[in-house]
Amino acid sequence: MALDIATVRRVAALCRIRVSDTDLSTMEAELNEILHWVEQLTELDTDDVLPMTRVVDVDLPMRDDVVSDGDCADKILVNAPASAQGFFSVPKVIE
């Protein structure tokens, strides 16, 4: 399953990373090299194997569905690049 330039472009768009036209072919080659290398996994028959969902055999803990934290908008906003009136602010999204 080799990646082509169009796929690299699509993946970059999906993860919101800009890849310049000049870097596209380098990225294509690098990603293909890595993907080719991981494809050795196809040598293994895993039809009857369950995928791992947790690495240690313990049940996830349950707790009461109650608020345990909050009232700290100032703390949450303290690192925001831009905020206003207790909210994060972003460039205009609706024309």
């Binding site: 690299v8 803990p61 703390k75 690049p81 460039p91 205009k92």
Partner: protein, 502 residues
């Protein structure tokens, strides 16, 4: 006196503090002086000397009132991946260059409650993605060790390179690290120190900047196995804020260090005898096996047939989880923002400028393997292979108590030697990744030097939550290896010259 203080182990220093041979302030001052003289190593992203001095006075006052904690007065460094309240926490990334957490990670909170003193935040590979420290936005750490074969500079390993380097250079008595695929054990091996990755779930991940959440685990880096046991006892424990931390009692780890490993069965996995593994590493591994026999353990050849597939599975699972975890860096809530014409434009500019090349590469791989049409072929396949790898370990642990392997396939390498070849860099994790995928505890103990004079470690892998056996066996090896070499202090008072010459 100052030099003697920085040479002490944590357990020795605790005795000295308790018997009043020196004060916490003197101990911390000695380490601050060592830190100031080691700028050339680029160990720190942020130094917190003034805070450390203020804390040391409180340590002395607590000890006078017989209220000292387990690590009271011990100067340590914290990998800059742990959120520290009101102290900038960067993850080695431009993205978080100015991020000041409004909260404290659980592991560091436990350390401060026990009286440990923070000297600063240690340098690391960006978002812990790397095996050489070369991906840090703040420039690479240089390994305190140099070979006797020329004036070359070596990588400290990664991603906890600043942590391992600081402990090796006698700048700190201990350090926190995190290990996703080997990021504690491999730099410990490269820097000639002890590095312990506990079982997944043993330490809380709350407040540790996430890389791959099903693999990330915090652990100590120290100069002795006993010190690792002391630190782990403080760092471990259930935390309701991390639902994957495990609610098991934390044993007295130092109590496990009996020196008696008679009758323990220790497996030697055939698959770790890689073709092309250097003679030196093979010889050291054999020596380790002989030491175990000498100490009365029973060594048993075992097979972990899927070992070969661990690395490729890891390089699907880890980037996949990373791509998801790092989606949060979008210029909105915290971290860098690069303004754009639209929200979309702002996201893209922020992420392109904020992340370095290796992080972008892993996000791209992770996004691809999780994307529609490829999820089953890559991600699901890798998670199935992970099940097989875990089963391999479960099978052998029905007949052995632990395993012994080399920690890394090489000693420290030179800057730039692998940074242009991702797969060759990834191969350095070949012996550490399998235990990571299976969530198992593993420790690297320094045991010898290459002919070139660089340190090498051996790894002990244990059963889930059996850090006690891992520590016990590592302690026995440490005693027999009598590793007492230390790096020459060539770095003293050299200025920080930024990036090293290759």
């Amino acid at each position: 006196m100052t030099e003697e203080l920085t040479d002490l182990t944590i357990s020795e220093a605790l005795l000295g503090l308790e018997s009043g041979d020196f004060s916490a302030r003197e101990l911390v001052e000695a380490h601050i002086s060592a830190m100031e003289r080691a700028k050339a190593l680029n160990l720190f992203i942020t130094e917190t000397a003034e805070m450390a001095l203020a804390s040391s006075d409180m340590c002395d006052s607590r000890r006078r009132k017989s209220k000292a904690g387990v690590l009271d007065g011990i100067p340590i460094v914290v990998k800059d991946l742990f959120a520290t309240e009101n102290i900038v926490t960067t993850a080695g990334s431009k993205m978080l260059e100015r991020y000041v957490p409004p909260y404290e990670s659980t592991v560091t909170k436990k350390l401060w409650s026990s009286g440990a003193v923070m000297l600063g935040k240690a340098n690391l590979d960006e978002f812990a993605m790397g095996s050489s420290n070369e991906t840090s936005f703040f420039g690479p750490v240089e390994n305190p060790w140099r070979s006797n074969e020329g004036d070359y500079q070596f990588v400290p390993g990664g991603s906890s390179g600043g942590s391992a380097g600081a402990v090796s250079a006698r700048v700190a008595m201990g350090a926190t690290g995190t290990d996703t695929g080997g990021s504690i054990r491999q730099p410990a091996s490269f820097c000639g120190v002890v590095g312990l990755k506990p079982t997944y779930g043993r330490c809380s991940r709350w407040g540790i900047i996430a890389f791959a959440s099903s693999l990330d685990q915090a652990g100590p880096i120290t100069r002795t196995v006993r010190d690792a046991a002391i630190m782990l006892g403080v760092m471990a424990g259930y935390d309701s804020k991390d639902s994957t931390s495990v609610n098991l009692p934390v044993p007295d780890y130092t109590g496990a260090l009996t020196g008696d490993i008679r009758g323990l069965r220790i497996g030697i996995p055939a698959e770790y005898g890689l073709e092309g593994l250097s003679n030196e590493i093979n010889a050291l591994w054999k020596k380790g096996i002989e030491w175990l026999k000498e100490a009365g353990a029973i060594t048993v050849p075992v097979e972990l047939p899927h070992t070969h597939y661990a690395l490729p599975a890891y390089y699907i699972v880890a980037p996949a989880e990373a791509s998801s975890n790092l989606a949060r860096y979008d210029g909105v809530r915290y971290g860098l923002r690069v303004e754009g014409d639209s929200v979309q434009d702002m996201y893209e500019k922020t992420r392109t400028e904020g992340f370095g090349a290796e992080v972008r590469r892993r996000i791209m791989i992770g996004t691809y393997v999780l994307s529609a049409g490829y999820y089953d072929a890559y991600y699901l396949k890798a998670q199935k292979v992970r099940t097989l790898i875990k089963q391999d370990f479960t099978n052998v642990f029905s007949s052995v108590d632990a395993l012994i392997t080399p920690t890394a396939p090489t000693a420290a390498f030179r800057f730039g030697e692998r940074s242009n070849d991702p797969i060759s860099m990834y191969q350095n994790d070949v012996f550490t990744v399998p235990a990571s995928l299976a969530g198992l505890p593993g420790i690297s103990v320094p045991v010898g030097l290459t002919s070139g004079g660089l340190p090498l470690g051996l790894q002990i892998i244990g059963k889930p939550f059996d850090e006690e056996s891992v520590l016990k066996i590592a302690d026995a090896i440490e005693a027999l290896a009598e590793f007492s070499s230390r790096p020459q202090t060539w770095w003293l008072d050299k200025s920080d010259n930024g990036s090293p010459t290759v």
